[in-house]
């Protein structure tokens, strides 16, 4: 899908729930890796501005230079909403960035369930700065499996579940289905929290809205957070967090205190960003019919 033209890499126009009239392009130094796994085309390019980037089926996934915004937000939002997370599950997240962020917390164990073994191998080999050795942590259990199947074996078990998935098209569509979210909920312990990467506001508003509505059917607290992931070229990204605990009762002071205690070395997330990122502008509240 992605063609090399005068050393410019053009992203595929096929963006689920999106428009075909927009795309991103990056100037590349060189192509580092390219092959097909059983699931997708996997490519790694060295780019001028984002460092090395991972491309799956022509869609930009993550980059050395700006992965921290995405990974800090998808992980620390649910980890700080939760009172004291011990058992964590990541579905997807083959690049290891989420694994690395979760392991910054004093957890007992984190399971990472990725369907495509090859993505893990390639990420570890060519993009090691994203996982920073997290795959070797004793608390990390890597499972090569379909998240849809894996989750069915668990009940009342995880404190935090992070859905670090690529865009829902083809078989991955099932990963935003109500049925799947029901299985996710069943696998959560009391007080559990989930987070979902849920598309870009400006181009994929239907996707944002679909995910929100489905989670709202199952959880009493559902909050949309926003953060800019510029690699995606589609703008501000939606991270939806859901739980049966009452988010409104969680005060900034509360999170500030926990954050200080952990003394995390982060670049984007902070307790202030935690709350500021959940304040949506009027036009989005109206478009999403959140009122």
């Amino acid at each position: 899908m992605s063609k090399k033209k005068n050393n410019w890499l053009f992203e595929s126009s096929l963006i689920p729930y999106g428009e075909v009239e927009e795309k991103s392009a990056l100037k590349v130094k060189k192509k580092i890796y390219s092959s097909k796994s059983s699931y997708q085309k996997i490519e790694v390019f060295d780019t001028f501005i984002f460092g090395k980037i991972l491309v799956l089926d022509g869609i930009f996934q993550t980059s050395e230079k700006d992965e921290f915004v995405y990974h800090e937000m998808i992980c620390h939002l649910p980890m700080f909403y939760h009172r004291n997370p011990k058992k964590v599950l990541i579905i997807g997240g083959g690049d290891g960035g989420s694994l690395e962020e979760v392991l910054k917390h004093p957890i007992e164990k984190v399971w990472m369930v990725e369907i495509d073994k090859k993505v893990i191998e390639i990420s570890q080999k060519y993009l090691p700065s994203i996982s920073k050795g997290a795959f070797k942590d004793k608390r990390a259990k890597i499972v090569i499996d379909d998240g849809l199947k894996f989750i069915k074996n668990y009940q009342n078990f995880f404190d935090v579940i992070i859905l670090d998935l690529s865009d829902p098209w083809g078989p991955a569509q099932k990963l935003i289905s109500l049925k799947f979210y029901k299985d996710i909920k069943r696998a959560l312990r009391k007080g559990g929290v989930i987070s979902v990467q849920g598309g870009c506001f400006f181009y994929q508003i239907k996707l944002v809205s679909t995910i929100f509505k489905r989670l709202k059917k199952l959880f009493s607290s559902v909050t949309i957070h926003k953060a800019p992931v510029v690699l995606y070229g589609l703008g501000e990204l939606n991270f939806t967090v859901a739980s049966d605990i009452n988010f409104k009762k969680i005060s900034p002071k509360n999170i500030e205190k926990k954050f200080k205690k952990l003394n995390l070395d982060l670049k984007y997330y902070s307790p202030k960003i935690h709350f500021a990122s959940a304040v949506l502008p009027k036009y989005l509240i109206e478009e999403l019919k959140l009122k």
Partner: protein
């Protein structure tokens, strides 16, 4: 369709085939870009200062390019214009005289004149022909504002205009292109110019400016402007807003002599919005005000680390 796009200026910057229906716009510097598919060509003209293209894009509607660089789009102009105008105007308890530097598209003027308190608005724009073209082809953005009797237009260089006059303003808004050599907008991004602005503001005056990208890969202009404005004004606060057509978080700086925009609480903002008769806001409101000033750690650190103070003889010029 194809003929219409041949031999025109839509494949900006020659990265695309000549007959392309796409426009390539740089985003985080010259090595990353966003491509927009063009629906219709509306206007292509040269003025004494720049090349003006107005096209219709599929997702963004009517869009203005100056010298092949995207300036404003019909679909997301409200994000930009509400952000450059309302946080500053509401920080002032009673803004009556306001001046805009640049802002030929009229979008900022439209937002300013929503405030009932404003009696007089000056718009100082160097390019008279650009105003004419925007008036004719972008009515969706300026909404007839050029006919408002409160608005007075001066087609001259902003720096010259402000250096000469004596009249003082409550709020001055800088709605300029990025700092360029030609037209020489870089002279409107220097400490010397900001001093001129300071002198033309009333004792409790406020200066609001668009200050380029705050993205962590591309925030040199923003951080330098911030540091420079800090040398001139006692209170300086930055806000950032994601602008989809720029594919960037965008920085706006509010520099103030007396009032602190970040400490304005939501009930007071709500009261002022009502009193001013502000209507039809799509982005800004009292709920979002505070959150706009929360900057991520990497940006706060980038500001701290920035040592450059922009001066006439040490200017900053945009890449590309």
């Amino acid at each position: 369709m194809r003929n219409e796009f041949r031999d025109n200026h839509f494949s900006f910057l020659a990265k695309l085939p000549k007959n392309s229906q796409w426009i390539l716009e740089f985003t985080q510097g010259p090595s990353s870009a966003h491509l927009f598919r063009v629906k219709k060509k509306i206007c292509h003209q040269k003025t004494p200062f720049q090349i003006v293209d107005i096209v219709k894009l599929f997702h963004y509607g009517k869009t203005l390019f100056l010298d092949e660089r995207l300036q404003v789009t019909q679909a997301d102009e409200f994000l930009y214009h509400e952000s450059v105008v309302h946080p500053a105007l509401l920080t002032h308890p009673q803004p009556q005289k306001v001046l805009i530097i640049g802002g030929a598209d009229g979008g900022a003027a439209y937002q300013v004149l929503k405030h009932k308190s404003v009696e007089k608005l000056f718009l100082v724009e160097i390019d008279a022909k650009l105003i004419k073209l925007c008036q004719k082809f972008l009515p969706e953005i300026n909404r007839g504002i050029f006919k408002n009797p409160k608005l007075k237009i001066f087609t001259t260089d902003g720096r010259k205009f402000l250096s000469k006059g004596k009249e003082k303003f409550d709020v001055i808004i800088s709605d300029l292109t990025a700092p360029l050599i030609n037209p020489p907008s870089y002279l409107l991004f220097t400490k010397e110019f900001y001093k001129i602005i300071y002198d033309r503001l009333n004792k409790d005056g406020i200066f609001s400016l668009q200050a380029d990208s705050t993205d962590h890969l591309n925030n040199k202009i923003f951080t330098s402007v911030y540091r420079t404005v800090e040398k001139v004004f006692p209170i300086v606060k930055a806000l950032q807003v994601f602008i989809p057509s720029y594919d960037n978080n965008w920085g706006f700086i509010i520099a103030s002599k007396k009032y602190n925009p970040a400490s304005l609480d939501s009930s007071e903002i709500k009261r002022r919005i009502k009193k001013r008769g502000l209507r039809g806001l799509k982005f800004y409101d009292e709920k979002i005000h505070q959150s706009l000033f929360v900057l991520p750690k990497d940006l706060r650190e980038a500001i701290k680390k920035q040592k450059k103070i922009i001066r006439d003889n040490h200017p900053i010029i945009t890449l590309q």
